[in-house]
Symmetry: C2
Subunit: 495 residues, 2 copies
């Protein structure tokens, strides 16, 4: 892409002044409109060193209401970041509804840095993941506007020299900047490949000729104005369409002769108390040792528990954690998203909770809510939950690329067993808090849930993150199977 | 995905008969509706050997009007296919509007075969390309319904043995089938990865438990009915939406302060006749030799010429071909698509014309019509031409993955030069045929075209298939530059 760019574009001061006045006014207005309409905006600034990203970000934010935007600058990779997966810092800084986030360098710069440090890192895979990430945000109504600021080798050199000529600005030119200038042609090829491979219909690149700063800032502002206007138009159109198709939302997607998984699960599996006690002790000891090794070998582990209400998730979690070092794990219970979380993409709240290297996080219910409760209750549209299978697979694959271990359990009981447990809870004073109106309501939709679970188990069982179905009519049997599965997986990982 | 499937699903004969009767009637009706609504349908059948694909395809086509469908069976890769790129046979057999194509094994089987033959072949890249291919078809309103027929290792063995026990069917079990059975677990993992990586919201996989043939055929038929009904619903909805947004179609997508490429081209470049003659002879000689080598070394080459009307494409083509062996090249002039071509995806007609190994094809105008004339004249919607940049890049990348050389030229002249040439044509009797009403009409939209060309040059200049802008006010200069570029590219390729 860069090869074709003619860098001699410029504006006279007069043209510039006229344009800027018009554009900044409009931008301030659009910020309010976007807030009103709950549209999140991400602005990505990438480009050559000394191409003027900082100055241009200042131009953009100048007319904006400071309560509605945030500038996020990518620093040297922190120790904390090194211990998480590639996308962790970026998911954590995605814009919420109605707010504007400006990224001064971001996942692109980071991807190239990673590659430079680790020759074996596969950039094609990383760019694919970036495309999926951006697509997910855009499908969730975020707008992403990406700029690449381009200057020539000579121009860059001139700017470095000028910066170095003054004591005030000398510190801004680093060794790596001169290195970039020295290897300009190579870097240009790198950038070009990045631009081509991540130019997509939902988040296309805007190339900015940045030799003339007036020209660059006028161009950036006018693209921002145009893209924001387009997003508002789209939103208005969607609102009309949504109104038209009201009432179709509760379609939970019946499939004729669908693949039945749960039906085939053998729930008669059982275990005697004596056997349970012996094996529990043995497995907990093993797990505790493996947990220590996991910590030393810096392996991050995610355990995800899903299952019917009263299937025994709590009891299982207790047996997993009982004998392991409490500084090395965390249990995260997931309920419906709160007001803050609702401002973001549905996967956002999970990303911030994923463990760093050497740590274990146990999720009591998970991101699979999207294709279970949200599907059945109509909180997600058919289009949204259909696409979620791919989104979730992509997320889990990207974690596994970064060496995470993911263990997913579905705790299965039958309808009769659930009723028995519900009754027991209701009749035992100290267990009454465990049972709510909602549990009974969910129970009445057993068939819909079963269908959703069956689909989930098929669509998201992958070789990197398979589902383990746990026959849980017998609590003893279930707990031992879960512990065994975890022990085996960790042993395999640390062979 | 396969791990979760319970293969013991079955139907009683009575249930089956009742269902089938209902479904086949409905299918016949839907075929007519789909034809009426111009919707192309692709049905993909993949699965284990002896899982019953043939029988099931017969069940599907039984109720259909034979004029409206076609069964395409993937055979052993032919010599012709080996000399083309991976997607060539598949693009050539995509369904046209209103017709149903059933693929008995297809790009999936072929991808796995390629991998088995060539360890180095990267399946992830191939699966990505398959996803892009399917997405392109689906975005073009095709529906793709994909089935994977699953049976167990034991069931497969039983079926092979039964086939072998009769002299009539013995021939149907080949060595490679037994090999598949022997390495069942390994193959299952391969299949699973394939299913996960190519399961997409637009073309998801349907897993079919194929132990019980009644169950399998009833499930396949009911999924077909459901997906076809959904497609018809979508079409109806789209028709309403389209009506609503009528009048927006001619928006050719103005971009504020867009990147100007053509403006910066130095059209004063010129060449004297004497120099031209000497260099022409020298370059044509070289090209002729390189063309022979290209043939021997089995390298396929595509030369794509675009440019303003009267920019000299014809003259340039003549100079390229003049001295080379006519058996080794083809010139393909591209005009607006004919009635047959209009029944297909816009890229279809180009795929069938791409050269096989060792051959050269020169396109006089190309697939870039999508982002030039179709954009400017409003024949493609904004959504369509915006996405075409990515689609075209993906197509060219996939060709280059298969070792094609792609050379793209934009012949640039200015408005005055064009007028001069138009006048000359009009005033020279033997050239009058070259100038039409349409040329003058196009000329009146010069600015719109210039904008479209600028965008095209930026968006589709890639390192694997860059654009070469040719300063063509001087015909001599232009021809020499084109020949030089070709000679240089071929020399580089065959270094």
């Amino acid at each position: 892409m860069l090869d074709q760019i003619d860098l001699n574009q410029s504006l006279t001061k007069h043209e510039y002044k006229k344009l800027i006045e018009k554009l900044t006014k409009r931008l301030a207005y659009l910020q309010r409109e976007l807030k009103e309409k709950d549209i999140p905006v991400g602005i990505v600034m990438e480009g050559w060193s000394a191409s003027g990203k900082g100055t241009l970000i200042n131009e953009i934010i100048h007319p904006l209401d400071p309560r509605g935007f945030r500038v996020i600058s990518l620093e040297e990779e922190s120790e904390e970041e090194k211990r998480h997966s590639f996308f962790w810092p970026f998911w954590n800084t995605i814009p919420p509804k109605g707010r504007i986030h400006l990224f001064n360098n971001c996942w692109y710069t980071r991807a190239l840095e990673k590659k430079r440090k680790d020759e074996k890192r596969n950039l094609s895979i990383l760019y694919d993941e970036i495309n999926s990430f951006e697509e997910q945000l855009c499908k969730d109504h975020c707008i992403l506007i990406k700029f690449f600021l381009h200057i020539s080798k000579e121009e860059q050199k001139k700017r470095f020299e000028k910066l170095e000529s003054s004591a005030d600005t000398r510190w801004r030119v680093e060794k790596k900047d001169w290195k970039e200038n020295k290897h300009y042609e190579e870097r240009k090829e790198e950038f070009d490949r990045m631009l081509v491979e991540t130019d997509s219909p939902y988040a296309p690149w805007n190339l900015i000729e940045a030799t003339d700063k007036h020209y660059a800032s006028a161009k950036i502002l006018s693209i921002l104005v145009k893209e924001m206007e387009k997003a508002l138009d789209r939103k208005a159109k969607e609102a009309i369409d949504a109104k038209k198709s009201e009432g179709c939302e509760t379609d939970i997607g019946e499939q004729p002769l669908r693949s039945r998984i749960l039906q085939g699960v053998d729930l008669s599996k059982d275990m005697k108390k004596e056997e349970y006690k012996v094996r529990l002790e043995e497995l907990q000891k093993k797990l505790s040792m493996l947990h220590n090794r996991m910590y030393r070998e810096k392996i991050p582990v995610i355990i995800a528990l899903e299952g019917w209400d009263a299937a025994g998730k709590g009891g299982a979690i207790k047996r997993i954690t009982e004998k392991i070092d409490p500084r090395g794990y965390e249990v995260v219970p997931i309920s419906s998203p709160n007001d803050l979380e609702r401002q973001y993409h549905y996967l956002w709240r999970f990303w911030s909770k994923f463990p760093k290297t050497g740590h274990l996080t146990i999720f009591d219910r998970t991101w699979y809510g999207r294709v279970l409760v949200e599907r059945v209750e109509g909180f997600a549209t058919r289009e949204e939950w259909t696409r979620a299978y791919t989104e979730i697979n992509q997320m889990e694959e990207s974690l596994c690329q970064d060496d995470y271990v993911i263990l997913k359990f579905w705790l299965h009981i039958d309808k009769d067993e659930q009723e028995k447990r519900f009754e027991e809870r209701q009749n035992t004073p100290e267990k009454q808090w465990k049972i709510t109106e909602e549990d009974w309501r969910n129970r009445s939709k057993w068939d819909d849930y079963e269908r959703a679970v069956d689909d989930m188990l098929v669509k998201t069982s992958t070789n990197y993150a398979p589902w383990h179905i746990v026959e849980a009519n017998s609590k003893y049997y279930a707990r031992i199977k879960i512990l065994e599965t975890i022990v085996e997986a960790l042993e395999n990982k640390m062979k």
